[in-house]
Structure formats: C-alpha cells, structure tokens
C-alpha cells in the first residue's frame, strides 16, 4: 500500500512539474465554516525546489494517460513511460493530509486526457467537489481545464475552484500546429471566454444578491512555452498582452522549454532551457502590469527581442535617454517608476518622503533604490553637476561592469535550431 501510493505520487508529480504556475494568491476564500484552511490574502511558498522555484501547491496530474500526442509533453501517447492514475479518494486524502501538516497551500490539479475530455473533466470536478463539500476544505484549488470539456462541467468546476487555467502552450497558432496538430488557440479561447463571462455574470449578481457563491475568485491564467518554437519576444509579449486584455487573465506564465523528447521538431534533449529569456519575459510582463508600460514600448518591429545583457526597463531607458534625467524631487510618480533601479515600493517612498524636504543621495540609498544603476538617470538635491550627456552605450558599459548578473556563470546557449 505504501509503495503503490509512493510510486503514483512519484510519476504524477514528476509529470506535472513542467507547469510553472505556482501562485496561490488572489483568492478570497475565508474559513467561515470552521473547517480546514483559508485561501485569503497573499499566497505562501512553503518551500523551494533545488532549482529555486516555489512550492506552494500539491501539483499533480490525476493521470498521465493521454489520448493525444503533443510533441512537447511527457504524457504524450507515443512516449514510452510508466502510466498511473490516482483515484478520487487518493487525491483528496493527499491534499488534506499535506495541508494539515502545513506543507502546502492547496492543490493544483491537472490531467492527461483519458477516454475523452468530459470523462476526465468529470473526475476532476468530483475531486474538488468532495474537497469543498465533504472535507470542508477552504485551501486554494487551481484546476486545469481539459480542452474540449463541456460548458456544464466547466461551470460546475468554477463553483469549487479558486483559479482555472488552460495553457496556450505555444505563443503562436502556427507554432502550436506544428507541435500539437490536435490543438489550437481557438480551443483555448473558448473555455477562457466562457469562464470569463461566468465570472462577470456572478459578480454582477453579487451586486444584487448577497449570497451568490464564489466563482473562480482568483481568476484565470495561462502558460506559454518559450524556446520550443522560433517565435520572437515581440510575438510572445503581444500574445500575452492580447490575452490579458481580452480575457482579463490574472497571470501569464512563461515556461522555458526543457527538452523531454527526441523529436526533430524540438530542441534536443540535454540542451539548456532558455532561462535568461524566460526571466526577461517575466520582467517585461511586470513592466506591463505594474509599471505602466505599453507592450509597444517594450517590444516592437524595431526591437523584436528583449536584450539578454540588460533588463527590459534599463533597455527601454537606454533607448529613450531623451526622458532622462528624472528629478526625483519634482517628477511625476509615473516617471519615477520608469527609472532603472527604482521599484514600485521605493518610488512610493520617494513621493511620500519628498513632502518633508528635498531628497539627497543618502536618503535615496536608504530608501532602498539600487543607486548605482539609478544614478545615471536621476537628479537629486546633491547630484553632481552634469558636464555633458553620457551616451547610452557608455552608461550601459558602466552598469554592466558594476553589476554581476546571476546568470553570468550559466552557459549562454539559447539554442537556435531553426
């Protein structure tokens, strides 16, 4: 009995780990029934893997059997691997027992497709329903939508899950068609659109009636695999931007492709995942979501790929020296946010603190900006007299020589196979 469950967990956790979503925040499910758990407020990372990713949810597949054959997926039909499937009870017990020991914030449940979409989706729904109604579980539940599942099942799932997601997989429709002929972006848009509609509908009803049940309170997300197809960062960011706008997604995740199959359409096994690129995409995503940047400003025809050596904010600033230097004692909050080396919380502190008097170098350092980077772009009360304008290349050189990137020791092989 011990061994069997260990084996299943091994197989089904291993197969689920490539899904990068780990967030357990954004819900508002309080423990009001004196049951188990609470999913209100910001999420908690309970531990971190040796590769530095956070573990906050029990992330498993219900099964790794699959009738499809997507080239980038370990569970694909043609892959010769051990197959396993959990029972509904097993998933419920694992979740509850891990949660009670404070190992996790909740469950992230996904699945290969056995038999057909609805057959699989129905089992996922049974698990979440049992957790919520029988076990009175208020922890976080993220449910992966099975493409092609019926609206009724999606709707039922939405009554119990905190977040739902369905992966775009590849940034462009063409890329996806090559690697997963049975899938399409359209198929992803349908459930995303349907759930989004229901979310809006539920919140409209909420305004009228108090006791409307929660429906996917933490919203929807999606994942894009990068580096498996030859798309540019511009294509990736524009796709992400469109999905943020059209489906009010809470998050788009970018997952650097890790070769797991010998397929001539894909990078070979053993090649390094594009970690720097992945990191740059997240930084660019942040600029869109929290720094007031428009996607066009970050990537466009003239600048289709993010720089590898500098982050996208610095890169934008270097291309737009005409906006600098920014005077921290007088500039708009919006403009201060755009200074490389100044984050959201330091920018807020700056605008608050300057009401009490002009800000000097020392203040800025203590407030916590990265001064060495920011100093090229700002003026402050005691800034040295500027003799002439530095040009972008010179500033970049200084910043690079003063900082040591955490990636410098990693090999730079961003495989281009195409």
């Amino acid at each position: 009995m011990y061994e069997r469950i260990r084996e299943k967990l091994g197989i089904l956790a291993d197969a689920a780990k490539y899904d990068v979503s780990c967030s357990s925040s954004g819900s508002n499910r309080k423990n009001e029934n004196r049951g188990l758990g609470d999913a209100e407020g910001t999420g908690i990372c309970h531990t971190y893997t040796e590769d530095g990713r956070c573990v906050s949810l029990l992330k498993i597949l219900l099964t790794n059997h699959c009738i499809f054959d997507c080239a980038f997926c370990v569970s694909r039909r043609s892959n010769d691997i051990k197959r396993a499937a959990f029972t509904v009870e097993e998933v419920v017990e694992l979740t509850i027992n891990f949660y009670r020991r404070n190992y996790i914030e909740g469950l992230f449940l996904s699945s290969g497709i056995f038999k057909n979409a609805d057959y699989t989706m129905e089992r996922l729904v049974r698990i979440v329903k049992k957790l919520r109604t029988e076990e009175r579980f208020n922890g976080y539940i993220h449910l992966k939508t099975i493409p092609g599942a019926s609206e009724e099942l999606l709707k039922e799932a939405g009554m119990y899950a905190d977040r739902m997601s369905i992966n775009l997989e590849m940034p462009t429709e063409t890329g996806l068609k090559i690697l997963a002929p049975e899938k399409s972006h359209e198929e992803v848009k349908k459930p995303l659109g349907y759930i989004q509609q229901s979310i809006t509908q539920f919140s409209d009803e909420k305004a009228l009636i108090k006791s409307v049940p929660k429906f996917v309170p933490a919203g929807q997300s999606t994942q894009i695999v990068i580096g498996a197809t030859p798309d540019t960062d511009k294509e990736i960011m524009h796709t992400a931007n469109a999905f943020y706008k059209n489906f009010s997604l809470k998050r788009v995740y970018y997952s650097g492709y890790i070769p797991i199959s010998n397929d001539s359409r894909l990078p070979v096994i053993g090649s390094q995942p594009p970690l720097i690129r992945e990191n740059r995409l997240y930084q660019a995503d942040w600029l869109m979501r929290f720094y007031g940047f428009n996607v066009q400003e970050i990537v466009n025809d003239a600048h289709p790929n993010l720089d590898v050596d500098v982050d996208p904010k610095l890169s934008w600033a270097l291309r737009h020296l005409e906006h600098f230097p920014v005077d921290v004692n007088t500039a708009d909050y919006r403009m201060i946010l755009r200074v490389p080396g100044i984050g959201v919380s330091s920018a807020l502190k700056i605008v608050q603190a300057r009401k009490f008097g002009r800000l000097y170098k020392d203040h800025l350092k203590k407030i916590g900006i990265s001064f060495n980077k920011a100093r090229h772009f700002i003026r402050f009360a005691d800034s040295p007299v500027q003799l002439n304008d530095f040009e972008a290349g010179h500033i970049k050189g200084i910043i690079l020589s003063e900082s040591h990137s955490k990636y410098q020791k990693n090999p730079y092989n961003q495989l281009s196979l195409f």
Binding site: Y2, I5, R6, L9, G10, A13, D14, A16, K17, Y18, K30, N31, R34, G35, L36, G37, D38, I44, C45, H46, T47, Y48, T49, E50, D51, G52, R53, C54, V55, L58, K59, L94, N97, F98, R100, R101, N102, Y103, R136, I258, Q272, P273, L275, K349, Q352, A353, K355, F356, G357, L359, H363, K366, I367, K406
Partner: protein
C-alpha cells in the same frame, strides 16, 4: 544624556516614554536591564513598568498612527534587538511631538529604522507561516517546534488559528522556551520541559508519540519535494536564498533520508 533602564517588556518601554515627558527629559538613552552594566560614574533611572502609563502612551500613538504603523511598532519591538529599543523610544517621541503624518518621513532615521526592522520581523513571521511542519501525534495534536531569530510567535496566532480551526495544534519556540496551544476554541501560551527523548535539533517527535500514518506522510512529502525538482534548472544559490540554511533542521523535506 540620561540613561533609562527598563525591564525589557513593551509595557516597560512605553512607560519609559511616559517618563521622558513627565521628567521633561531631553534625549534619553534606553537600555533593557538584561543589557545594562551599571557604571559608577553614571546615574541612571530605573523605569518601573506601569500598565496605566503604558496604556496612555499607546493610546497617544494611536491618535497619530494608523493600524499598520502601530503594528510596525509592535513588530520592531519583537525583534528583541537592543538598538531597536532606542529607535522605538525616539520614534514614539518624534511622532508624539509632531503633526500627524510624520511617520512617512523616511528621511528621519527612526522612521526608517522602524520601517526596516518591522519588515525584517514581518519577513520572518511570513517564513514561519511557510516553514512550520506539523507532525500529528497519536492523541491527534499537530505539533511543531521552531527557533526563530525574532520573537514572532505572538504574530503567528491569527494565521494558524484561522487556518487550522478544526485541528488542535502546538507551536513551540525552543529558543524562548514557550509555545502556543490551540484547543479548538482558543490559543493559550504554554511552557513545558523537553523530555530526554525529544530531539530538539530535528523537527521530530519520538516515533512512539506519533500517529501511525505520520511516517507515511513525511515520506510522501519528501518524495514529492524530490520529484518536483527539475535538474536541468538546478540553482542552489537561489534555493538557499529562499530557504536559508538555519531553518533546514526544522524542514522535513531538507532532512536526509534516515527513514
């Protein structure tokens, strides 16, 4: 400069602030009795904690500071760091002496110190919310012990009480020798002696005290932790930054597989 010696409690610290005003003192030096070494050439004033006086100072601060800042004040106090006491007294006086809003002057060294100290304590509170690993005992209590750098136990009560409303639990601070016990109704402070067979170094109760399924779940959790790792992305520097080594001994997943 006058030296005030207080008993190390929050109440004592607030009482000290009260005396600053009553005695019309200039800037005073504040020391807790645990850190105080009397000096024959120096006079010092012994602050006796008084509920009443402490309450008045707390209420006074409350008229100027919002909830978040009051909490920051408390958190900084829980850092138990001697320089924190000085900053707290100076901060309290700065707030009392100035118009409301003075706390957003990050150019003031005490404001900055309190905001940074409270952040440090807050970070550790958050880490404990993440890193506590309960073990179920044979009498159905979920037990964990920890050794936080700061005295964060009081800050953990609402979180765990809320989250584990339907299970009894104990969180014990080995360093400060007290714990919290939730009995399904309320949380009480408890103190107990560690028996010989408890190994305080590990987050492990002796097997005979544990629920029969406990071993299975520890193993499954370790299995899970190992299985979700992606070797191609290994980055130990990042791992250690997120999970500092000093916490490892209480994390079941970081304990070598002796089982």
């Amino acid at each position: 400069m006058e030296t005030f010696v207080f008993d190390g409690t929050l109440e004592g610290l607030l009482t000290a602030v009260f005396y600053c005003y009553q005695k019309k003192s200039g800037r005073v030096k504040i020391v807790s009795s645990a850190h105080f070494y009397p000096d024959v050439f120096q006079q010092h004033f012994e602050v006796v904690s008084e509920d009443d006086k402490a309450r008045r100072v707390w209420a006074g601060l409350k008229t100027k500071l919002d909830k978040q800042w009051m909490l920051n004040f408390y958190k900084s106090f829980l850092s138990e760091q001697p320089p924190a006491f000085q900053h707290l007294v100076d901060f309290a006086r700065y707030i009392i002496d100035n118009e409301p809003g003075a706390e957003s002057n990050y150019g003031n060294p005490d404001v900055l110190a309190i905001s940074q100290l409270s952040q440090k304590v807050h970070r550790e509170k958050h880490r404990m919310e993440a890193f506590i690993r309960f073990q179920k005992t044979s009498d159905g209590i979920f037990y964990a012990h920890i050794e936080p750098d700061f005295n964060v136990l009081p800050l953990l009560i609402p979180h765990f009480k809320n989250r584990y409303a339907d299970q009894k639990w104990i969180i014990y601070d080995l360093k400060r020798k007290y714990g919290l016990f939730y009995d399904l109704e309320k949380v009480d402070e408890i103190v107990f002696d560690f028996s010989e067979e408890m190994s305080p170094g590990l987050n492990a109760l002796p097997a005979q005290l544990l629920d029969e399924k406990e071993e299975l779940y520890t193993i499954l959790w370790k299995d899970y932790f190992r299985n979700v790792n992606i070797p191609a992305r290994r980055n130990m520097k990042l791992h250690i930054r997120h999970v500092p080594k000093r916490y490892w001994k209480y994390l079941s997943e970081k304990q070598s597989d002796a089982i």
